[in-house]
Amino acid sequence: MLETLHNLAVGFSVALSPSVLLYAFVGCVIGTLVGVLPGVGPLAGISLLLPATFGMDATRAIVMLAGIYYGAMYGGSTTSILMRIPGEAASVMTCIDGYAMARKGRAGAALAIAAVGSYVAGTVSVVGLMLLAPPLAAFALRFGPPEYFALLLFGLLVLAYMSAGSMVKSLAMAVLGLLLGMVGIDQMSGYFRFAYGVVELGDGLGVVPVAVGLFGLAEILATAGQAVQPKVIEPKLRELLPSRAEWREAAGPIGRGTVLGFLVGIIPGSAHIISSFVSYALEKKLSRRPQEFGHGAVAGVAGPESANNAATSGAFVPMLALGVPSGPIPAVMLAAMMVHGVSPGPLLIRQQPELFWGFVASMYVGNLVLLILNLPLVGIFVNLLRVPYPYLYPAILTFSILGVYAVNGSVVDVWIMLGMGVLGYVLRKLSFETAPIVLGVVLAPMIELALRQSLAMSDGHYGIFFQRPIAATLLVVGLGMMLLSLRTFIRRGLDWRARMALAEKGES
């Protein structure tokens, strides 16, 4: 413990030196900007600035890139809440209740809760990173294909809890999303599936065009032509910050989201979006007023936002403790380290304590900087809502198209966004939820690959899932939860029939 504090002191001395502080600040600002722009996410931001870091020394470079990463997570919630467009893929869940809160005039509250939740999550998970990095990383490495499959299956079951309306409809949307996720090269056999000769579809539809299209474009298509523009209640200055009741409501979800997000984040290969979906479902399950979800529940913003920020710090655990790339963004950061002559690996913490501890300390600082940056900006951002919609939505459209195009320089992505926009518009009219589609698109390739990899590992025997302790535990817990929810479903069904019988008796 004493050693940790000593190291932390060393780290802070590095992190608070003016030049490092400056780079952290620059990274945070760029990250926020990148996060606010729809479609362009932290990966794009980091890749753009990677070459600019070549001249700097390793610590500064890593600190700046990390700042972009978690800054983007802060910024992503802004467009989600204000315009129902995910700033980056992981913010999709915030769109649902965040925007609903904005419509009720609580945009400032939503933004503030998102900012504070992100701060708490970021800071607490950095503590986790600091104290528990090596053992957590070793645990995370034990997640092989069978464990992934069990975990992702678990994530799918979570969809059952997300249904605001009919369960069958949510299931259908989830399956539709899973099917859309099947487009692309099959990693196990090399076949191109449903790509019809378009090479750009080789990696699938892509979660960014799908999310921006289904949420952003569909929203615009549905509301732009309305005779009566949806009245966004303009908040008064007093009402800009959350009320005491709202803070109380947010506390629990922030805590739970942090732990959940951190745990999901340390598993290499898990996408941040999973942490926010699971957090949303968890909060809904635990809430005393689940019917509020989808209409502006505070927990629906606090939980997912904290979760995806905590996942960001979690992703650093395998990266720093073991030199293992836990996803595309840590992979870029590992490359940045290599370029600067720092060889990432299990000995990094021991060999480069200034880098590790400086990095950890800069994350504390960075999170604080972002909180200070974002809270006053709440007032400015909320004023964006005052812009008349006929001017606002062309601007949003421009940014959406630009953002989606900029990710990979591909017009095919823009077309996918347009297609998904039309799909989202139609589905809204037919009263279907579109969030499960995004989760499906993300999960489908991962879950199929994990299943077939597991079978390749075991030469076709399904027993492998039960021979490995982590996978078996997850499957059993998941099945248990499914049976429990089935029980409530059946009970609800019986109730429904009893009510129908009563109603008929009453009518006759």
């Binding site: 890749s47 070459p51 990693q187 196990m188 191109f192 090479v199 293992v324 870029v332 690996g345 390739p445």
Partner: protein, 327 residues
């Protein structure tokens, strides 16, 4: 309405007039050059492309930028350069997979996304032989142990790769065919996950570029058994090559080379070639590659063509032998 239309037309005209039209072309290069890296940032292609671009910028005194165009294991970026304007302003930094992808397309009866003869090679920049690594807690102490065991237990030893028909997979396949063994392939979605899998002990072996696994070998988590190169890897002097061990077919390099569209004029190509030659000798470039622990293996002209053809032939053969994996 008519007034509005006039306004709009005037505005459009105004914008067009105001925009500066491109001047007459003089010496090459007169515009920024773009090097397309067909892989995501942080990968081998990207990390090689950026120092090259920086060094070439110094030599050509004209901006040279790197653009990542990812997708389909590199096919998207490669295809985009194959059909780009052959004026020398769009170049490709390709990895050895450039020879694999068209072959893979052929065995699936697909129209190839591009073909190798749509490119004019400029120079080879680096060529890393892959090395065979196993978790340190496995019993195999040498490549011979490994191959012996594989012969005794066909299809039981698993290995991860960055994807089917990818570079790491093809390396293993060349070994399997050369040594007459059968291994179990567990494809992963990229080199990162493949490395994670072996570090977690979920697979038994991996063919990997040396730079990425060196820290783990030094930390004692992985053991290198042999290399696919012509010579031993400089950072791993005790690791023999498969050639030394008697398997000359097992030769595989993850190489990075600069290409241009085929129809690029000869004068431009010569200029580019000399620029790359100078760039490779730039001390900053050398320092950058040193940091990446990637040896520079510069080849040009005839030499590169021969290397490229031999490599392409080897890989095409390998892909054909693998054929379609029938489930």
């Amino acid at each position: 309405m008519a007034a509005a239309l006039r306004f709009v037309l005037l505005a459009v005209l105004g914008v067009l007039v105001a925009s500066s039209l491109a001047g007459a072309q003089d010496a090459f290069p007169s515009r920024p050059i773009t090097i397309v890296a067909p892989f995501p940032p942080g990968g081998v292609a990207d990390l090689t492309a950026r120092p090259v671009a920086a060094a070439m910028e110094k030599v050509l005194k004209s901006p040279v930028g790197v653009v990542n165009k990812t997708g389909a294991a590199g096919a998207v970026g490669m295809q985009s350069v194959a059909v780009a304007k052959p004026d020398g302003y769009t170049l490709l930094l390709a990895l050895s997979s450039i020879s694999i992808i068209p072959e893979a397309d052929k065995i699936f009866d697909r129209k190839p996304a591009f073909t190798v003869d749509q490119f004019a090679p400029i120079a080879l920049i680096s060529a890393d032989p892959t090395v065979l690594v196993v978790p340190a807690d496995k019993p195999w102490k040498s490549a011979r142990d490994f191959i012996e065991d594989a012969k005794n237990r066909p299809g039981q030893i698993s290995f991860s790769s960055s994807g089917i028909y990818g570079t790491l997979h093809m390396a293993m396949e060349l070994l399997s065919h050369g040594a007459g063994i059968k291994l179990r392939h567990v494809p992963h979605a990229g080199a990162g996950p493949a490395l994670t899998a072996i570090l977690g002990g979920h697979v038994d072996a991996l063919a990997s570029g040396p730079a990425v696994v060196l820290p783990h070998i030094k930390a004692g988590k992985l053991r290198a058994l042999a290399g696919w190169g012509d010579k031993r890897v400089a950072a791993l002097p005790d690791v023999p090559t498969f050639k030394e061990l008697g398997y000359p077919d097992a030769e595989f390099y993850i190489w990075a080379g600069l290409f241009a569209p085929k129809a690029t004029p000869e004068g431009v190509l010569t200029r580019l070639r000399s620029a790359v030659r100078d760039a490779v000798n730039d001390p900053d470039f050398k320092a950058a590659m040193d940091k990446l622990e990637t040896p520079i293996a510069f080849k040009q002209g005839e030499e590169f063509q021969r290397f490229f053809d031999a490599d392409a032939r080897r890989l095409a053969d390998g892909v054909r032998k693998v054929g379609r994996i029938a489930p």
